[in-house]
Subunit: 223 residues, 2 copies
């Protein structure tokens, strides 16, 4: 049987997993809202971000209180500090989903995404969901093996991001500057979302193996 | 005379101040490189980012070791955790300066910034430097009064960011899609840089007063 202290440590890990679910749902809805120019759905993402922020504050307080009350040994201390970092990453992922929803809302009833880019954006949304789902199971099961898959998914996101730039910058682009700017910002939000998910998983790997796998990827350029 | 423990706490604060200097210098050089299409200067920013990353790792290790060795009371613990967060903000500010330098490098020998936007970008660079200098003195002197000025500077940054969008989206814009996308990304990097600086100062205020002033600002839109 586990003692109260370790139960509290586990509860913090559960809260992180719950946060991955929240930001996964936010990004899934943000992508659908973006592709369908769905104002209501976009607004639900924007309003729902408050729940993610509250989840982070709850987790932060729990971790700080646990640190102050118990005097955690080095390993548990590292876990708690890493949890704070992961919750900050996840909170930011919620912001990024919300940013995409805001672009949708601003252009409503017009659609942000031209036909040529629907498939790219759809795939970026799918990769985002895949990455955050994996990050969730890495946190839940401390599975360093699954964590090692995430950089590959992130590479796929970067590839899609470059594809998006190629389309925007091609001579055939006829949708004007505003759409180009909006779409490129959304692309950047997807890319950062994936970076934060990878960073979250890397922190688990670091705790398990002591090896820090990778920092955020370079920003994708349209070279 | 202060004991070794408090000297170590002070040393961490000094390291944070040093990081504000590093990222201030990085952003100043990134802005000049962007405006002058100066490849060498841009490359010095990109290479110099490693120094910022190392400073963060050093600080992180020092803080973790201090936590593990001493059993800091609630107040000191909060300070140490806040220091970890601030160092992450500052590390990210270094990344953002580096991103601006990368845009410069990618377009070299062409210049990214058209004549109409030189003044806006110049001012964004100036506001960035002002904000980070203030953040540095907030950390150094635990000055909650100065910290309260930062949101105003951040509002000025947001105003400039909107001005930048207005120029890009005006019918008179003749510089094409690629320049619009590059300039809008740079604008976003300046805005995020300022957000992180404000966040850094807010953490000091929180430690001093117990009141959390504000989260990051909403992304600026071109509405």
């Amino acid at each position: 049987m586990r003692d109260v202290y370790h139960e509290e440590l586990d509860a913090i890990s559960d809260q992180l997993v719950e946060m991955t679910r929240l930001v996964s749902s936010a990004m899934a809805r943000a992508t659908t809202a973006l592709l369908d120019a769905d104002l209501k759905l976009a607004e639900s993402v924007i309003e729902g971000d408050e729940t993610v922020n509250e989840a982070q504050h709850t987790l932060e307080n729990a971790a700080l209180q646990l640190m102050a009350r118990q005097q955690p040994v080095a390993g548990d201390l590292r876990t708690l500090v890493a949890s704070l970092r992961m919750s900050a990453d996840l909170e930011r992922m919620g912001d990024l989903a919300s940013h995409i929803a805001r672009v949708t809302r601003r252009r409503y009833p017009a659609s942000v995404v031209p036909a040529e880019l629907r498939s790219t954006i759809l795939q970026m949304g799918q990769v985002a969901e895949r990455i955050v789902a994996k990050a969730g199971s890495v946190i839940a099961r401390k599975d360093a093996e699954v964590a090692l898959e995430l950089p590959r998914d992130d590479d796929e996101m970067d590839r899609l991001h470059r594809e998006l730039y190629r389309t925007i910058l091609a001579p055939e682009w006829t949708y004007g500057v505003e759409t180009a700017v909006d779409v490129s910002l959304c692309g950047r939000y997807y890319e950062r979302y994936a970076d934060h998910a990878v960073s979250t998983a890397s922190r688990v790997v670091f705790l398990v193996t002591g090896v820090w796998e990778r920092e955020e990827s370079e920003p994708v350029s349209h070279q």
